[in-house]
């Protein structure tokens, strides 16, 4: 089941087409990958996700022919590459694996310059490119160029792995659990960095993971695979979360689907709620007037720049006598920025005083608040649009074939 992609702005051109791709390993009864047909649109991150052993890695490794298919075809950018020269093919496709596999005897610079060197670039062009790539992955070239892999942390190695895969600016990147072996905090940071990088380079990326949360975060489209790489659903994260195609998908995304959905929209996408605020230095009467208008038991005091300073309630005013407002009441908890996800906002909301989340801009200036009703509304809207879309695609015959883009 497919639906028109809405997450990205590609023109629907197919970069990789797999046609009835099949792999049977010698001595095994079942096909590891069984007649998989899949279109991967240009400029998208397509995530292959599924339980261990379902054939994700095998599928990916057939795309650069590290594993040779038993049958079927691989079409890259309109060209059948099923039996072309594999070395030439691989130089056009970036490849990142979980173990990274940096060359320990070569400096970071040499590692990153591997593919340009294979392509015969001159050394000046290679070194310019290496510096450019290191900067792309947030590694200061002068500091890291001459180091060896053993002198890097796990996260830095993974960045170098990505830079190396981008070496000769390939159109396609294959990434097999690239952030799998990294601690959760670093992983989150690398994922964000990678998404930012992808928004600049716009590669076609096939990304393998067995973690549905990572799939939702990274994917423009997600293919949920069952044994033998059978597609259970191939769709946008929104559609998969809100309209799972079958029980397998529903099981796989698990109980937290509604919460996961909150990772998909940003605070900026829903209207912020405005509450009365007061400037620091407002007199007692002014504060009391604001308190009468607000639905909460306190008002937010802003400093001269408009940044949240204190929550002040009526009792605070009474007890405080004539003291200035910034010495009364309570400090507000951490605020979120407008580009935070609804999930971040909800997280703050649960722990925050007065059950609202303060939203600020990048300089910390107050923009408005989010409360639980707004989040509820957002979930409801997402669900109804997803259901409508799922209905639409059910009635459209041209989309009946699994894995094909409309």
């Amino acid at each position: 089941m497919t639906s028109p992609t809405n997450a990205t702005s590609h023109d629907g051109r197919v970069m990789i087409r797999l046609e009835e791709l099949t792999k049977k390993f010698p001595g095994q009864k079942q096909n590891a990958v069984d007649s998989l047909t899949l279109d991967i649109p240009e400029g998208d991150i397509v995530v292959l996700v599924g339980p261990s052993g379902c054939g994700k890695t095998t599928t990916m490794k057939m795309m650069n022919r590290i594993i040779e298919p038993s049958s079927g075809r691989i079409i890259l950018d309109g060209e059948d590459v099923t039996s072309s020269d594999p070395d030439q093919l691989r130089r056009r496709i970036g490849y990142v694996i979980q173990q990274i596999g940096l060359f320990p005897h070569q400096s970071i610079g040499e590692n990153v310059g591997t593919v340009p060197k294979l392509l015969g670039w001159d050394s000046k062009r290679i070194s310019t490119r290496v510096d450019e790539l290191l900067e792309m992955v947030n590694m200061e070239p002068s500091q890291f160029r001459n180091r060896y892999p053993k002198q890097l942390s796990g996260g830095q190695k993974q960045r170098v792995g990505v830079a190396r895969a981008l070496g000769a600016d390939p159109d396609v990147m294959l990434m097999d659990e690239p952030f799998g072996a990294i601690d959760p905090i670093t992983r989150d940071r690398l994922q964000n960095e990678f998404l930012r990088l992808q928004s600049e380079v716009r590669k076609t990326i096939v990304f393998v993971t067995h973690d549905i949360d990572e799939a939702i975060k990274m994917g423009d489209r997600i293919a949920i695979l069952q044994d033998g790489s059978h597609i259970a659903q191939y769709d946008t994260p929104e559609q998969i979360l809100t309209a799972p195609a079958n029980d397998f998908v529903a099981d796989f995304i698990g109980k937290g689907a509604s919460l996961k959905r909150l990772n998909l929209s940003r605070v900026a996408d829903i209207g912020l709620k405005q509450l009365p605020t007061v400037q620091l230095g407002t007199d007692r009467e002014g504060v009391m007037a604001a308190l009468r208008q607000t639905e909460l038991s306190a008002v937010l005091v802003l400093d001269g720049e408009g940044r949240p300073l204190r929550w002040v309630g009526a009792e605070d005013l009474q007890r405080g006598g004539g003291r200035p407002l910034d010495e009364l009441g309570l400090a507000p908890e951490a605020a979120v920025e407008a580009r935070a996800t609804l999930s971040d906002a909800l997280n703050e909301l649960i722990t925050a005083r007065y059950s609202i989340t303060i939203v600020v801009d990048s300089r910390g200036v107050y923009q408005g608040v989010v409360d639980i009703d707004q989040i509820n509304d957002a979930i409801r809207t997402m669900r109804s649009t997803a259901v409508a879309k799922a209905r639409e695609s059910l009635t459209d015959d041209s989309m009946a074939e699994q894995g094909r883009l409309p």
Partner: protein, 214 residues
């Protein structure tokens, strides 16, 4: 004449025998390294050829050196030739074995990423696998050198060059005062050579191994 006086008196002989000994062993090590590394490269991927080549090289080592030297007189005559051939045969096992071990110990993820970037079989071997296996290979070469320094002394039985000449002359004169000095001098010469070779290998390994895997 005590041992020290003996050494001074025969210092020219000591030097000459030493050069002959070192040259012979050096040549044998060089040839064994070339052949051994090539055999290792040819066989490390597949179990059967690998086991076969190790068995053959191991079998060479079980032939008593004395016998092998004498047997080789037939085709090769007396002098350095039979000794060189025999030493090369003895030297193969540590080199072949370490080449195979070194290549097989290279992290498969590293080889896979090299493959994924489009390196040909030959590029993977020359740029990735051999440099990574090199410290293990050179250790094998070093072991071979030490073993051959000792065996080379026996080569004097077929008139090969080296400190064996002192040792065998001493053996022929057992009971005379000079006999002990001769054997001691020959042994000392071999030991000094071993130390010098070892030092050379230490430096060679340091210079030729990438900083990243030291």
């Amino acid at each position: 004449m005590n041992f020290f006086e003996f050494l001074v008196a025969r210092s020219e002989d000591m030097l000459e025998l030493g050069l002959g000994h070192a040259a012979l062993v050096g040549a044998a090590v060089l040839i064994a390294t070339v052949i051994g590394v090539l055999l290792g490269i040819a066989t490390y991927r597949k179990e059967k050829p690998r086991e076969a080549i190790l068995a053959v090289c191991g079998a060479f080592l079980t032939v008593p050196s004395f016998a092998l030297f004498v047997l080789l007189i037939g085709p090769l005559g007396l002098g350095w030739k039979p000794v060189l051939v025999a030493l090369t045969m003895y030297g193969l096992l540590p080199i072949v074995r370490n080449t195979i071990t070194g290549l097989r110990e290279v992290d498969p993820a590293i080889v896979e990423s090299a493959l994924g970037m489009g390196m040909s079989r030959r590029q993977r071997l020359l740029r990735i696998e051999l440099p990574l296996a090199w410290p293990v290979i050179i250790t094998g070469v070093r072991v071979t050198t030490l073993v051959l320094l000792g065996i080379a002394a026996i080569g004097s039985i077929v008139l090969g060059p080296g400190y064996g000449e002192f040792i065998f002359t001493g053996l022929a004169r057992v009971g005379t005062p000079v006999a002990v000095n001769l054997v001691l001098a020959g042994t000392l010469g071999v030991i000094v050579l071993a130390i010098l070779f070892d030092l050379a290998f230490y430096l060679l390994r340091k210079i030729t191994t990438s900083q990243g895997i030291r």
